[in-house]
């Protein structure tokens, strides 16, 4: 369920199909991923998972897979 929720935030924010969401979907590789979309993504994820990210985690939230590891620090389980 958390995987689907996470995936859904990305497809909604970036307006992409879920098939493109993998370890290559990163801030550096995706042209559309600018600072505005980054903050939108953070806000949507905080809302979806009811968390408040630390500033360092917002800065380091640089990719689809890496983001899962950061969310796990806040108690979100992706191993379902």
């Amino acid at each position: 369920m958390n995987n689907e929720k996470y995936e859904s935030v990305f497809t909604s924010v970036f307006n992409v199909d879920k098939e493109v969401l993998n370890e290559n979907f990163t801030f550096k590789a995706v042209d559309e991923w600018d600072s505005f979309l980054h903050l939108t993504l953070i806000s949507e994820l905080e809302d979806a998972f009811d968390v408040l990210f630390e500033s360092e985690d917002i800065l380091n939230f640089g990719g689809y897979e890496n983001g899962k590891k950061i969310l796990e620090k806040y108690g979100v389980d992706f191993g379902e």
Binding site: S43, E46, D47, D50, V51, L52, E54, S55
Partner: protein
């Protein structure tokens, strides 16, 4: 009892006593659920227990200058009360020292609480507040000395000047999320700390107040209510002096 804040959730920092307590009580009287924050654990329990509005007053004791504590408590408040509509950054420390006698320890403590703590609270609360359909209102308590200066208060006035500056920037940055950010700048105000002051020495300053008296905490709370309620929906980025028309 009114209903200007009915259905709203407010967080008031440094509200165990003085101006903060007055703000918390007035907001509860006007229908809000109010988070009473202070760094000293249990320091507001007695007056909350004796208040007519105790069911709407919720103590949360944490240090606003500790970002981890702030984040944890803001999320706990959201989980417990559902949303946050109003934040009053009232917590502050004040040491009055003449130039040449300013201690590093007091200087750092004033900036840590008055400026960094205010920023920590705005950072965390605005992210929760921004999820509200109608945003919210942030009120930063500054001071007239932050606008005009005062002998013996170089550091304190600098922290309050910083609060005024950050208010204006936060107002611009948070406006798209419908979050209003304003500041109340109290003039000379009667608090518990002033009970120990020499009234004769204060008289000179009181003589400069056109209204002929110092502010009571209720005067400051009234200004906060004005900026917190929906009637102020188009007011943001402003500094409102509540000083009885003081001529400094």
């Amino acid at each position: 009892m009114g209903n200007l804040l009915e259905g709203k959730v407010a967080v008031v920092t440094g509200s165990a006593r003085g101006i903060g307590r007055e703000i918390a009580e007035l907001f509860a009287k006007e229908g809000a659920d109010v988070v009473v924050n202070d760094v000293r654990s249990g320091s507001a329990d007695q007056w909350i227990g004796e208040s007519e509005f105790k069911d709407r007053l919720h103590p949360f004791y944490f240090d606003i200058s500790d970002s981890s504590e702030v984040r944890k408590n803001i999320m706990d408040i959201k989980k417990q009360l559902g949303h946050i509509d109003i934040l009053v950054n009232n917590a502050a420390v004040e040491f009055n020292e003449l130039i040449g006698m300013i201690s590093s320890e007091n200087m750092e403590k004033m900036f840590r609480v008055n400026v960094f703590g205010t920023i920590e609270m705005i950072q965390a609360v605005s992210r929760v507040m921004g999820r509200n359909e109608n945003g919210g209102s942030i009120i930063n308590i500054s001071s007239m000395v932050g606008l005009r200066g005062n002998p013996g208060q170089m550091v304190y006035s600098a922290t309050k000047g910083a609060v005024i500056a950050l208010t204006k920037t936060a107002a611009k940055e948070l406006a798209p999320k419908k979050i209003r950010v304003n500041s109340i700048a109290p003039g000379l105000t009667k608090t518990e700390m002033m009970d120990q002051a020499d009234i004769e020495k204060l008289q000179g300053r009181i003589n400069n107040i056109s209204m002929g008296r110092i502010a009571m905490p209720a005067d400051i709370a009234g200004g906060c209510l004005l900026l917190a309620c929906d009637y102020a929906a188009y007011i943001s980025g402003q500094v409102l002096p509540v000083d009885g028309c003081t001529i400094m």
